[in-house]
Each structure stands twice: as C-alpha cells, then as structure tokens.
Symmetry: C2
Subunit: 246 residues, 2 copies
C-alpha cells in the first residue's frame, strides 16, 4: 500500500557540493521521480557535513512538508554524519540496527571492523524499507527518507520511493513553442495566467541554437484545465504561432 | 578595488528546477568560481517562482552570509519575479532604471513594449555593476547579486563576480587516492581529523569503474596545514598506499 503525500522537500548534504569538488547529479532524477509520482517538490537545500546544521534544517523541512528526502553523508567515515543528525533532529539516540549489523557481517566477514559497523547506525525507532532488487534497505525516520549521495546508488534507491509513496493525483503537462520572444508574448501570457489560476504557466526563453525563441509550459493536476489554458493561449497568438505543441 | 567577503549563499529560483523540467547547471560553476576566489559557499536553497517565499529566504540568507547570489527569475514574463522579490525583501519599491530603460529602447527600437520595459525594473537604490565584455549590467542590492538563470548567461556573468569580489585568502586543496575502502581508512582518518582541526578532510568512495576505492581530500586556507595533514595521513597507511597523490 502506497502512502499518499502531497509535498516534498530535499536536503542535499556534502561539503563537496558547496566547494565545487563535485557537481550534484541527484536533484534532477529526484525531481523527475517525484513529479512522475504526482508529488510536489517545494524546496531544496544544500548544506555542509555539519550535524547541528543538518538537524536544524531537517526540523524546519519535516514540519512543513509531507516527506523529506536526504542525499549524502551515509558511510563509515567522520564526514558521514547524516544518520546521527537525523537522530538529533528527532531527539533519539542513534543505535546499531541488528539486521544491518548482520548484513555488514555477512558482507565483510573476517575484515569487519567497528568503522564498517558505523553503517548499521540508525535513529532509534527508524523503519527499514526495501524494494525488489535493492539489497541495502532505506532508512526512514518519521517522514525523513535517507538516501546515499553516490549518484548511481541514489538513482537505484529511488525505486524504493516509487514503491512506497505516491501523490494525490498525477500532474499533467503540455508545452507550446513560439518564435516570438518573451516580451512579445507577455500580454497573451498575462491573460491566461489570470483566467486559469489553477494552471502553473511557465515561460522559458531559448537564446541560442534553436528553432524556437520561447517555450511556454502548462501544468496542473487537472488535464482539462491544462488543455483549456493551452487552447486559450494559442487562440491569442498571431498567425503562424505556435510553431509546435508538445 | 575588490570587496573582501568570507561567506556566500546561493538562491536558485525557478519552478522548472523543482518540477524536473530543467536540470540545474548553475550551482557547479558558481561553486567552483567562489572556491577559486577563496569565498566559502555555505548554503544553497532552491525555491519556486514565489515572490513572498523568495523575499523571506533572501532575508534569512543575506543576514547570515556576506554575499548572496541569486539565479533565475529575471525577464519580462509573469513568472520572472526575482527583482520584485528582492525589492520586497529590502522593503523598497521596484523602479524603472533610466539606464536600463535606455538600453532596452536602443535594442528593441520600434518594437519596444511595456513588457520589455519590465526588464528595467530594479529595487530602488540598487547598484548596476559591469565587467568588460558584459553588455547587460548586473543588479546588486545591498549584498544580494542578481544573476540570470539561463546557464550560458549565468556563466558569462560570473566574470562580474570575479572582478568585484574576493575571499580573505585562497583555499588550498590536495587529494590522496587509495585502494583501501572507507571502512579500512577510518582509523587513520579519525587520527588526522583530530590532529588537524584547521583542515577540512573529506572521504569519497568510488564504487564503480575506477583504479581507486577512496579519494581523501585535504582543504584549508593554510597551505602548510594541508601539506602536514596529508603527510601525516600518508604516514599512517600500509605499504603500497596511497596509489596516487594530487
């Protein structure tokens, strides 16, 4: 049974994202996955590997969104502080989970050490969620889901999210491509923005190397609202526009 | 004369980043640019095209960081709300800047309309900064710098930042590559983390397709601290490690 959630926030954790050592690759697949599920991602924050800062941010995000996804800071080294920070946010101790300890023992065998066992630490009371084909379970504490930062693992783990969460209804999205520039479309845009308050209308200029100058997007949970807004907008355009609808 | 700033925050603005319509391309060049200038980027927030939310976020960020950089939401359409939000944050009106109006008039000539002139709106009291080869000036209100969201323009405008700001001292960075996994390196890492509190030490596992398993980074504003921490760490490793130093 999937849990219905309306809103989500993401917390991307890691000094390397702020220092420019590494380019984030996780926000985009997370955003598209949530969108596909009909869940509205409302806010993303990137912070350093600082437990106090992570805990404070989590307490803001988890009380103002249905679900919070974290990326990064899980592992055995000193800079992997996410699970301790989650425990701190919920004011519970971080404890070694018996099942995770057992999995680590089976994997590392004779070379298992205390450092490896740090990867078994979870906030007391956390749930472990799995999905088919995902060996390592995902730690979920309250409405906070903890994902690894390594992009390939992160993307793999999004399957767990898809199996357990969904939005209240899908989003519908259409797009119109114009050769007019944004300044020439503003009047028509303002009219449909006013007439279709339930539809999120976006305008994106394309400045280089393209057959169009402006892409206008129409998004809503109601497919007919989207269609009506798109039709109303196109009716306001001069002949020859739009050059394409998608 | 460059202004010396220690800390920075970034606010990335746009529904398209949260809905997965567009993958952010601006954080990475911004992070590397600030790092190269010796400015510490401490926090990044991604929010929707909502003036109230942008203004509230700006008021948090600008009081806790020396400089705040925004990306996106500048343009002539209804969803371009950044400059109005900056004005709101500073509790001043947004006014049409005479020089920007003149530049728009020169560019659009007879086709100039009120929508185009929205691009001349700036918070009252804002400065306009330029750099050689950059035609359109950058709006700076207090310690808030407003950049466009289009990645090619954003990267171009970073030149303005480089010409006007610098950190108190450069960052020095070294890296060590090991075939040991993170769990096997934790004891040595904990020792140098304890002995070199001024050095930021990061550990990054490489799980796929690589000649190394773990990359350890050493960062500080003191080059000799970095060298000493790196040397101390390498002295703790077994024979054959590290496989490479950079």
């Amino acid at each position: 049974v999937k849990r219905i959630v309306h809103t989500a926030a993401a917390l991307l954790i890691g000094n390397e994202l702020l220092s420019g050592k590494v380019a984030d690759e996780n926000l985009f697949p997370l955003a598209t996955t949530l969108r596909g599920l009909g869940i509205a991602l409302r806010r993303v924050v990137v912070v350093a590997d600082d437990p106090a800062e992570i805990a404070a941010e989590l307490n803001l995000l988890r009380h103002s969104h249905d679900v919070v996804l974290t990326s990064g800071g899980v592992g055995p080294t000193h800079d992997d502080v996410t699970l301790v920070a989650v425990a701190q946010a919920f004011e519970v101790p971080a404890v070694r989970h018996p099942m995770l300890s057992e999995m680590l023992r089976a994997h590392y065998k004779a070379s298992l050490n205390d450092a490896h066992l740090r990867m078994a630490l979870v906030p007391e009371g956390a749930a472990l969620l799995s999905a088919e084909g995902i060996v390592w379970p995902t730690v979920v504490m309250g409405n906070v889901w903890v994902f690894p930062g390594v992009p390939k693992l992160f993307r793999m783990k999004l399957l767990v999210l898809r199996e357990h969460l969904q939005g209240p209804a899908p989003f519908f999205s259409r797009a119109v491509f114009c050769q007019l520039d944004e300044g020439q479309l503003t009047e028509s845009l303002d009219a449909v923005v006013k007439d279709f308050p339930s539809v999120e209308i976006g305008s994106y200029p394309r400045l280089f190397d393209s057959d169009y100058k402006t892409k206008i997007t129409f998004d809503a949970r109601s497919e007919s609202d989207v269609e009506q807004a798109l039709t109303a907008f196109c009716a306001l355009l001069p002949g020859g526009e739009p050059i394409r609808v998608a």
